[in-house]
Symmetry: C2
Subunit: 438 residues, 2 copies
């Protein structure tokens, strides 16, 4: 495993001075959805380090709403720093380059949907500014964009970023993100040899709606209907969604059914951590799955256009998106907790060991801090935790890095201060009882 | 109860001769959906009485497909009679009047959706031609269009039809339709006093799809999500859909859960047959209701427009319609039977009596006869059975009539010849065990 070398930020400061700017740091955030909401609040709470903040989105009013919330909540640590909104089309590389040149940030934080990763990375490369995102640049359920190919396009920028002297930090949310840092921590401190890695994710919260998704319904529904891919005995295994299930007893939130699912970090863990099996598991309640199956059976989860009797052409999934509650609207009434973690089994000092490294996040605590729910909170807090490592020169080497590649210690030391604590639980040794469903 | 007086058809023949036509009879059918398909086949099988057949629809190709099927199945009893297709907009009274004047039918059979009843009745009145339909001119689930108001608009034509010397026969399908004839038969032959009337309808067939509707999804989904209305102790009772349930042991198809539902004939029975309780019950499998509830919960059953992210405005129910299989497409693979009947309880010769008068229809038998499934078949066969009563002068009095008002005997004598038999089953006396669900 390769851990990033700490490069002194002074080098970059020099650059700024050469460019004729003063020493005030700055970030440019692109994206103003739920995750963007939390990232902006957390950036503001840490603007003594991150500096001026510019939030850009296709819909500038969404940026303005976030700024309004930050000001209302008095979440700007240093109120003298700038906090501004801009409109930008994240599909347009030239527009992005122009905006980056205008804002002159030290880091671009991509808080948009994963399909804008490539344009933003290219713009960062052209403008010579470092880059950070929270999920992978493929949709994980279309042919050629699945887990075994995840990160291929973004890893194509490794040499370019190195040569440009800029840093790219990929997948810096919770999962992907912190769960990989947990795995790196296990490798560094807890194990001599890794046998299996199971990423476990359950939201035991209640939003009070009959059915709703916690983030963009379109992304969510595409993600969970794709085949699952897991890495086992040196090869990729592909299975239909919701056909591998186990029950897992999560700290604080109890036992939940979790299902094997396609997720970004299985690819990057496989790349950087040798293990016999690596798999991602997400909790779905029976009620949720019933809605999901009904919607899938009638064709409502399809992105393929259908023609209505009057000739109107629509994508069913976009109709569903219009019908479901805006995920942002769920936050005020959301109660309960999430639990996400990395279950690692292997050997230490010649003995079998089984460890669960995890966080519990509380929807109401998140809301009191940043006026949003815990799903977005668990993605936004790690992004700013990672950004701080970059600004402190801990994760600032030139090149493109996934979270497994970087030193977990400074990150895990910082994360609780930003809003998410973490724990290590020793479990009884033994492989999970996986149920194969038809 | 008023039974229609037999008026000799010779009177009408005279009219035709005066108008300069020969004695060949003719019908004009408007509508070319599933029910129209069966009506046209059955009309062709009886064209020695009904004469020339013209099928008209907004989409003329649908009429042509029906004609092609009739010819392929060799279903024209007298191949020398005409069988033609026409295009017409059934919302346009002037266009309808023009078509009626061109075709010069003895009877217009409305096989369209219920919302064109009023324009077709008005056109028949203006053109002075008799009229027959198979369901009520309101949607049964919008304010002011529910069971207590059902037929009000159409009954407004009673005097006009009388004065014009033309006949209107309303609701001449199975339910509404035959179930009311069964009730009239019970009044005439089986009971001195009626206590309760429960119309029971179950489709125990299997179309092999995960979810599909047996007729137009839009009409179907609107119908079954409306409040149920039943008549009890001299007043209307209104309850949310699927909250009154009982189990009923149907002949041949066994025990099924049935739910109180809004249906046309509860209004007309209440008007013409004194009873303590009159109620309609439809069978829904748990699986069907689960799909229904999911779709309703996410808002997919709403006719109210929603705006997609790209600005497209769509009615969710019309999107569902585009997603679900075309009901016509289900027919070839449909297996199993329906059972629809009228369960009457009351007194005869001073003793309590409980009787179920019913039909079983078989999807495959229907398909072999007319290339369609039994749901459409049970609606189309009664329409032609009723048309034959009109042509034979049995149900031909001037005015507007529901099926309860007309003599059941000639109708029930004819119906088995047209394709649907019927039976009377004595049941144990006793009120049903109705479950109130929340």
């Amino acid at each position: 495993m390769l851990f990033g070398l700490a490069i002194i930020r002074a080098k970059q400061h020099e650059n700024q001075i050469i460019k004729g700017r003063n020493l005030t740091m700055a970030i440019l955030q692109i994206g103003a959805g739920g995750v963007g909401w939390v990232i902006a609040h957390k950036a503001a709470q840490n603007n003594d380090v991150l500096g001026d903040i510019t939030i850009a989105s296709r819909t500038v009013s969404k940026c303005e709403s976030i700024i309004e919330s930050i000001k209302k909540m008095e979440n700007m640590k240093d109120p003298s720093k700038k906090l501004e909104a801009r409109a930008v089309n994240a599909d347009d590389v030239d527009a992005l380059v122009a905006l980056i040149k205008e804002v002159q940030p030290d880091l671009v934080i991509n808080a948009g949907p994963p399909w804008v990763n490539m344009t933003i990375m290219e713009a960062c490369y052209q403008a010579k500014v470092s880059y950070l995102d929270t999920s992978v640049a493929v949709d994980l359920c279309s042919e050629g964009q699945q887990v075994p190919q995840a990160y291929d396009w973004q890893w194509g920028y490794r040499e370019k970023f190195k040569e440009a002297g800029i840093t790219g930090i990929l997948g810096a949310g919770f999962d992907p993100g912190v769960v990989s840092v947990f795995a790196a921590y296990a490798v560094k401190h807890l194990f001599d040899e890794i046998d299996t890695i199971d990423v476990m994710d359950v939201n035991a919260g209640d939003h009070g709606k009959k059915f709703a998704t916690n983030f963009d319904p379109e992304t969510n529904m595409l993600e969970i209907q794709g085949d699952s891919f897991y890495w086992e005995e040196g090869e990729w295994k592909q299975v239909p969604c919701h056909t591998r299930m186990m029950e897992f007893d999560f700290p604080l939130v109890g036992s939940h059914k979790v299902y094997s699912m396609a997720h970004d970090e299985v690819r990057s863990m496989k790349e950087f951590i040798p293990a016999k099996r690596i798999e991602f598991w997400m909790g779905f309640g029976d009620r949720y799955l019933n809605y999901f199956n009904c919607m899938r059976d009638i064709g409502l989860l399809s992105p393929d256009p259908v023609t209505l009797q009057d000739g109107t052409v629509v994508e069913p999934l976009k109709v569903l998106k219009a019908l479901l509650p805006d995920p942002t609207s769920l936050a005020p009434g959301y109660t309960g907790k999430t639990c996400i973690g990395t279950w690692v089994q292997g050997k230490k000092d010649g003995k079998e060991r089984s460890v669960f490294i995890y966080n519990n996040a509380d929807h109401q605590v998140a809301y009191k801090d940043v006026e949003h729910q815990a799903i977005s909170y668990t993605t936004g807090v790690p992004a700013i935790t990672a950004a701080l490592q970059y600004f402190r020169g801990k994760w600032a080497e030139a090149g493109v890095y996934n979270m497994e590649q970087l030193d977990p210690d400074p990150f895990l030391e910082t994360m609780p201060e930003i809003g998410l604590d973490w724990h290590v639980q020793e479990l009884e040794v033994g492989q999970p009882a996986i149920n194969i469903l038809k």
